[in-house]
Amino acid sequence: MADYEENEQQMDCALDLMRRLPPQSVEENLVTLLEVLPELTEDLLAAVDQPLKVRQDASTGKEYLVCDYNRDGDSYRSPWTNTYDPPLADGNVPSERLRKLEASANDAFSTYKDLYYEGGVSSVYLWDMDESFAGVVLIKKVNDGTVRSKGSWDSIHVVEVLETGRQARYKLTSTVMLYTVASGARGDRQSEINLSGSLTRQDERELLVEDPNAHVANIGRMVEDMEFKMRNSLQEVYFGKTHDIVNGLRSAADLGEAKTRELLQRDLFGQLKSRKD
């Protein structure tokens, strides 16, 4: 098998594996995969979503999120200062024009984050591409205020932008990682209920770009609409569907009694009906 074909097959299998292994241990799973397939390290790091880590600007104290998109070697770029930590002589930075857009996007999404998350951290990173540009909008919120439960929400919105005159086509791929843990009946770690994972959705729109500002508003509305839909999906899947599956595995009520009741009801209905006729 040609090297390229083998790598592609291995990548496909690795990604399928990441969709099946417990999200509760996503970081350990990735480490294992990197040990087994070290030759695919860069590809795996780029393709596998991980919970976002928070860093702090030494100078301003402002927090930002790190992922593969703002990484260069072992350094990460702050969206507030546009510099790398640890410092790099010539780290990857967006072009001047793009950096201005990136700065305004960070401010706008910071407001968005405050409105919806009432806390948390947000970061936007843009990068130049041949025909246009692409970017990622990151948001992280942690809720560990109570003893009985805790959770964290990570949004990763990757957008590809193709400018065509006064319009642009936006392709959005969004992943929300949601981790929730409740302590068990006796409040101990032994019987925790851990309900965690992620959902991914896509959207594509063609919108007017009257001036460069418009990109921020266009992307902003797409992300806002997407998060609206995904929040509903997450609620349905996590707290509806998976709970239904548990109750399908074991019936709280006696199945035999339920069956007898059902037969009795049907019988009664039949008798009432024949009386009416």
Binding site: Q9, R19, P22, G184, S191, G197, V216, T242
Partner: protein, 278 residues
């Protein structure tokens, strides 16, 4: 890392398969390792471990007796026993098939406790039929205790979900101690990967009494504990949905309307971007 330890590491991932997806995970591992011969020697013990962990159900050859594959009815390296038909058989972990059933030379201490085992099995069978639509049960004498295994699986891969409920209860008739644990795992994977992972354990004491009565008592305790666990799962879900989830992200801002992006974008850019293009 040596090639051999890489393969061993890849093979070990099989033990983390979600319920009903061992074959899919196995195929992924095969694709990653890309060397079936080398994988073979590492994967067989892992498959055996996986089947026993999952309480896989199989049919005893030449009978219609269903029996579970567990660590508690293992005989030697490749055989398992079925106390209900008093047979032993060989199990092929790769193909998940049973063969070569033969009469089982029941060890003397198992013989001694057979009446209690049978009584407990009968009581638990009533319980399992009442609460698990597709449940399976096994009760085995193992190292000084009666071990009861309950497994209930629901696999619906075409709807992108699978789930499993697995309980193991150990009753020591001499000390009267009853110990158990239950594990529930659910996997939802339509455009995502969402998993529920929860387990709990219980303990109680059952005094010495007439065998049939004792079996009834043990079964009643098991039923009670499992019902309590299912209830606490429900309570956990309520807490997560109503408190944790809502505390992460609002459905709408406090203003009750969506964000005005035009206002914000213009405010923050000011004249900067316009100047840049000039």
């Amino acid at each position: 890392m040596s090639s051999d330890s890489k393969i061993a590491k890849a093979a070990s991932l099989l033990l983390h398969s979600p319920p009903g997806e061992v074959d899919d995970v196995f195929n992924d591992i095969r694709g990653i390792v890309n060397d079936d011969e080398a994988l073979q020697e590492h994967i067989e013990p892992v498959l055996a471990e996986s089947n026993m962990q999952q309480f896989l159900a199989t049919t005893v050859p030449d009978t219609d007796s269903r029996v579970l594959i567990t660590p508690y009815n293992r005989v030697g390296d490749t055989q398992f026993s079925d106390p209900n038909t008093r047979t032993v058989f060989t199990f092929d972990h790769l193909h998940r098939t049973a063969r070569d059933a033969a009469p089982w030379d029941v060890p003397s201490d198992a013989q001694l406790h057979e009446p209690l085992r049978q009584a407990l099995y009968d009581e638990l069978l009533l319980y399992v039929r009442a609460h698990y639509a597709d449940g399976s049960l096994g009760v085995f004498w193992h190292e000084g205790a009666l071990v009861s295994c309950i497994v209930s699986n629901r696999f619906s891969p075409s709807n992108f979900w699978n789930g499993s409920w697995r309980s193991v209860w150990s009753f020591d008739p001499q000390s009267g101690q009853l110990n158990g644990s239950t594990k529930v795992r659910v996997h939802y994977f339509e455009d995502g990967n969402v998993q529920l992972d929860t387990q709990t354990d219980f303990a109680a004491d059952v005094e010495d009494m007439d065998e049939k009565v004792r079996a009834k008592k043990v079964a009643r305790l098991i039923r009670g504990f499992e019902a309590e666990f299912q209830q606490s799962i429900g309570d956990g879900y309520r807490q997560l949905a109503e408190k944790t989830f809502k505390g992460l992200r609002r459905s709408l801002p406090v203003t009750r309307s969506r964000m005005d992006w035009d206002k914000v974008a213009n405010y923050t850019i000011g004249g900067e971007l316009a100047n840049a293009d000039a």
